[in-house]
C-alpha cells in the first residue's frame, strides 16, 4: 500500500541515534511526571514506548515535539539539541517530522481533502504547486492509507475512528517526513482496524525508511510494529531492548505490565496517577 519516497532525506550520522534524549525532567507543581528520561531512538527503525496510563508517555512525546518545555535535559535530533531552539529553527525541524495524534486531531472545520492539503502546503519546503497538482497528490496520499477519493469531500465528523486515523496519517505523511511519531495509534479501534493501522506504520518504516517512535499500551501492536521497545515507569525508562524480547524481559515490572498480571511490583490497589508522584 505504501510506496517509497523519492525525496532526499537527512540521515543521521552513522552510529548516532536519530533521536537522543538525556536527563529529561518535567514537573507540574510538586508532581514529577518525567524524572530523568534517557532514551536512544535508532535511525530507520521502529521504537515503541510502553507504560501504564498516566505515566507520562504522551507528555514525553509532547516534550520531543516542542509542545511542552521540559524543566531539564536534552533532546537531540541528528545531534542537534532542539530544546530552546528558535521558533523558525523548530519550524524547519518540524517540517521533517510527522505526527499522528491519539484522536487524529483532524481540523474539524475542513474537509478530509483540505486536511491533507494543509499538510502538503504547510510542509511544502518552499515549493509552490497549483491546486490541481496538490489535490492529485492528496488523493494519492489517501490511497496510500487505503482510502478512496469518495472520502475527500467528507468532514472528519462523518468518518469512523479508524478512517480518521488514516486521514491523520495521510496528513502526517504529506510533508514526506523522515521521523514519525504515533501517540496510541490503535486506541479505541477494533482488532482488524488496529492491524490495518499497524500495517501502515510498519510500511512507513520498511518502505519509506523513516524512523518511528510509537507510544502505546497495546501489546499486540508492539509485537507487530516494534523493532525496539522501552518501558516508561515511575518517570524513567526502566527497560529497553529488542521488541521481540519484551514479553520475556526478565524485569519484574515489565513482565507484570506486558502479561497484565495483578500481582507484582506495580501497585494495582489505590494506584496513583503516576508512581513518580510518591517522591
Amino acid at each position: 500500500m505504501m510506496t517509497s519516497s523519492s525525496s532526499s532525506r537527512t540521515a543521521a550520522p552513522s552510529g548516532q541515534p536519530r533521536l537522543r534524549i538525556r536527563g529529561l525532567r518535567k514537573s507540574f507543581g510538586d508532581r514529577t511526571i518525567l524524572n530523568g528520561i534517557d532514551l536512544d531512538v535508532p535511525a530507520g527503525k521502529s521504537t515503541v514506548i510502553i507504560g501504564g496510563s498516566g505515566n507520562g508517555k504522551s507528555l514525553l512525546l509532547r516534550c520531543i515535539l516542542g509542545l511542552i518545555e521540559p524543566d531539564e535535559g536534552t533532546i537531540e535530533i541528528d545531534g542537534e539539541n532542539i530544546i530552546g531552539a528558535s521558533r523558525s529553527r523548530r519550524e524547519t525541524l518540524l517540517k521533517r517530522i510527522g505526527m499522528l495524534f491519539q484522536n487524529a486531531a483532524l481540523f474539524d472545520s475542513m474537509s478530509v481533502m483540505d486536511n491533507v492539503l494543509f499538510g502538503l502546503t504547510a510542509k511544502s519546503h518552499g515549493r509552490r504547486r497549483d491546486r490541481a497538482t496538490q489535490e492529485k497528490e492528496a488523493l494519492r496520499l489517501l490511497e496510500q492509507v487505503g482510502l478512496g477519493p469518495h472520502v475527500a469531500p467528507l468532514n472528519p465528523a462523518e468518518l469512523s475512528g479508524g478512517m480518521q486515523k488514516r486521514v491523520g496519517l495521510a496528513r502526517a505523511l504529506a510533508g514526506q517526513p523522515d521521523i514519525l511519531f504515533f501517540d496510541e495509534p490503535t486506541t479505541g479501534l477494533d482488532p482488524i482496524m488496529s492491524a490495518v493501522i499497524d500495517g501502515l506504520i510498519s510500511s512507513c518504516v520498511t518502505q519509506r525508511g523513516a524512523t518511528a517512535l510509537t507510544i502505546t499500551h497495546d501489546m499486540t501492536s508492539v509485537t507487530r510494529i516494534g523493532d525496539h521497545a522501552a518501558m516508561l515507569y515511575g518517570g524513567k525508562i526502566i527497560w529497553q531492548g529488542p521488541a521481540n524480547t519484551l514479553m520475556h524481559s526478565g524485569n519484574p515490572i515489565v513482565d507484570q505490565f506486558t502479561h497484565g498480571r495483578l500481582d507484582g511490583p506495580i501497585p494495582t490497589s489505590g494506584m496513583t496517577a503516576n508512581p513518580a508522584e510518591k517522591r
Binding site: R62, L65, G66, L67, R87, E91, T92, L94, K95, I97, G98, M99, F101, Q102, N103, A105, L106, F107, D108, S109, F118, G119, A122, K123, R171, A172, G175
Partner: protein, 261 residues
C-alpha cells in the same frame, strides 16, 4: 490575627492574579499583532474571518441600530416636546447614534455573537489537540488562528458601525416622519446640521478598538481554555463578559479623550 489578615491576602492574590492576566493578555496581543508583519499571509483565512465577523453580523447589528434610532426619536420627542424643542429630535438621534450607540451597541452585539464563537472555536481546537497538530505541521497557531481574527475584527467593526449609523438615523427618521408627524425635509435638515465628520470618525475609531478587544479576548480565552467541553463553555462566557465590560470602559476612555478635550 490570621482572620484579620485574610481580607488582605485575598485582595493581594486578586491584584496579583489580575496583573498576571493583564500581562499575559498583553503579550498574547503583541504576538497576535506581530503576526501581521511576518510571512506567510493567510489571506483566505482573513477573508473568511471578515465574512464571519462583518458580513454575517450585519443582520443583528442592523436590527439593533434601526430600533435604537427609533427609540431615541420617541424618547427624545416625549421629553423635548415639554419644552417645545421637538426640532432637536433629528440632531439628538444622529449625535447619539454616531457618537455612542452605533459603536457601543454594534460592539456589544458582536461580542455576544462573535466573541463567544471565536472562544468556542479556538477552545474546541485546543481541547481536541488541533492546535498542537498545527504546531506539528510547522504552522504557528498564533499567526494562523489569532492574527487573521484580530485583523478581521479591526477592519469589520468600523464597516458594521458605519452601516449601523446610517440605519440608526433611518430608524429615527421613520418614527419621526411616520409616527410623530415630522416634515421629512425639516428632519433631514436638522439631522444634517448636527452631523459632524469628527463624531463619525471617532465612532469608527471606537469600533476598530472594540473589534480588536472582542477578537483578542475570544482568541485569548479560547487559546488558553482547559478541561474539555466545560472549559470551552467557560471560555465563551468569560469572553462575552470581559469584552462587554471592556467595551464600556474603553468607550468612556475614548469619549473622554476625543470629546472632552
Amino acid at each position: 490575627m490570621r482572620a484579620l489578615s485574610l481580607p488582605f491576602i485575598f485582595l493581594g492574590r486578586g491584584i496579583l492574579g489580575g496583573l498576571h492576566h493583564a500581562g499575559a493578555l498583553s503579550l498574547f496581543a503583541l504576538r497576535g499583532l506581530g503576526g501581521i508583519f511576518r510571512l506567510p499571509v493567510y489571506g483566505q483565512v482573513i477573508l473568511s474571518c471578515l465574512v464571519e465577523i462583518g458580513f454575517l453580523s450585519l443582520p443583528v447589528v442592523a436590527l439593533t441600530a434601526i430600533f435604537s434610532g427609533a427609540v431615541i426619536a420617541l424618547q427624545s420627542y416625549s421629553g423635548f416636546s415639554q419644552y417645545h424643542a421637538q426640532n432637536a429630535v433629528g440632531g439628538i438621534v444622529v449625535m447619539s447614534i454616531t457618537k455612542e450607540l452605533g459603536p457601543v451597541l454594534a460592539g456589544l452585539m458582536v461580542a455576544g455573537r462573535i466573541g463567544a464563537a471565536i472562544a468556542a472555536q479556538i477552545g474546541s481546537m485546543r481541547v481536541t489537540d488541533q492546535i498542537d497538530a498545527l504546531n506539528t505541521l510547522a504552522t504557528d497557531p498564533i499567526k494562523y488562528l489569532v492574527t487573521p481574527r484580530l485583523v478581521a475584527g479591526i477592519l469589520a467593526l468600523p464597516f458594521l458601525v458605519l452601516i449601523a449609523d446610517i440605519l440608526g438615523v433611518a430608524g429615527g427618521f421613520i418614527v419621526a416622519v411616520g409616527k410623530l408627524g415630522f416634515s421629512p425635509a425639516l428632519y433631514i435638515h436638522a439631522t444634517h446640521a448636527s452631523l459632524h465628520s469628527h463624531d463619525v470618525l471617532v465612532g469608527l475609531l471606537k469600533a476598530a478598538v472594540f473589534g480588536f478587544l472582542i477578537t483578542l479576548l475570544g482568541c485569548y480565552e479560547g487559546y488558553n481554555s482547559r478541561g474539555g467541553a466545560e472549559g470551552v463553555g467557560r471560555a465563551a462566557t468569560a469572553t462575552v463578559v470581559a469584552s462587554s465590560i471592556l467595551i464600556l470602559a474603553f468607550d468612556y476612555l475614548l469619549t473622554d479623550l476625543f470629546f472632552t478635550a
